[in-house]
């Protein structure tokens, strides 16, 4: 049996998630971009401009990933004033992997574990002051991570 306190706690937690969902994430999740099946259509749905290649984005990922189902990616963005970062796996069925937003007080750095279908570039776009910066890094995938079996 759940106690009344446990039930109340669960309800408050659920409400908090709903509240944070609308309070700060002013722009909602771009469903079309995440459902897009090519890099071009994902970026089209996101309506980001043409990126300029930049060495101010550092992507740390293994050169060779034994298991494409679990590839660690670490990104450091040194572009001043970056507010949003996009991560794409160029040959995945659904290429857009993550769309991150950073408030003030957060270092423009993150790490995330992603799935990669096959050997491809991981592409990172950083949006700052209306400009789009991009960098890529190739990861060789031994066993693809998107289809089990």
């Amino acid at each position: 049996m759940l106690s009344r306190r446990q039930l109340l706690g669960a309800a408050v937690a659920a409400l908090l998630v709903r509240a944070t969902r609308s309070a700060w994430a002013d722009e909602g999740r771009n469903v079309n971009a995440f459902n897009a099946r090519s890099v071009e259509s994902a970026l089209g749905a996101l309506e980001v401009g043409t990126p300029a290649e930049s060495n101010l984005i550092e992507i740390d990922a293994p050169d060779v990933a034994e298991n494409g189902a679990n590839v660690p990616v670490e990104v450091t963005v040194k572009v001043p004033g970056v507010e949003r970062v996009l991560v794409l796996g160029e040959r995945n069925v659904f290429p857009l992997l993550a769309d991150l937003r950073f408030g003030p007080g957060v270092v423009p750095w993150f790490e995330v574990k992603v799935k990669l279908a096959e050997t491809s570039h991981v592409r990172v776009l950083a949006l700052a002051n209306g400009q789009v910066y991009a960098a890529s890094r190739q990861v060789r995938v031994i066993v693809g991570g998107c289809l089990p079996g």
Binding site: A13, A14, L16, V17, T20, R21, A23, W24, A25, R29, N30, F34, N35, A69, N70, V71, P72, E74, G89, N92, V93, F94, P95, L96, L97, A98, D99, L100, R101, F102, G103, G105, V106, V107, W109, F110, E111, V112, K113, V114, K115, G145, C146, L147, P148, G149
Partner: protein, 104 residues
């Protein structure tokens, strides 16, 4: 039912920045897989992760099905000792999870 348990750490590094690491237990199924019996496995993946400091959201991650199962996520934030760091998630089936820790 999603297993809501996940691990959250907030540790101050030598440079003063607080490293927040979240290990979220979630299948992140992309809907492309099939069971051994050939039945399609429906999509079940995280859609949003929010990091907050003392209930103020400071960073969000939106995702599709491309995160690894049980993904490890990390952010670096400026926070004071005693601040409450919370990470909450939402998935495509409207299931939620939340963990909280104190900066030490």
């Amino acid at each position: 039912m999603a297993n809501n348990s996940f691990r959250l750490q907030a540790k101050r590094q030598a440079d003063g920045v607080v490293l927040v690491k979240a290990l979220i237990r979630h299948p992140n199924d992309n809907g492309l897989g099939r069971t051994a019996e050939g039945q399609p496995i429906p999509p079940h993946h995280l859609t949003q992760v929010v990091v907050s400091v003392n209930d103020q959201p400071v960073a969000t991650l939106h995702s599709g099905s491309g995160l690894a199962a049980n993904p490890l996520l990390g952010w670096k934030i400026n926070a004071r000792d005693g601040d409450r760091i919370a990470v909450s998630w939402l998935d495509n089936l409207d299931e939620t999870g939340r963990a909280e820790t104190i900066v030490a």
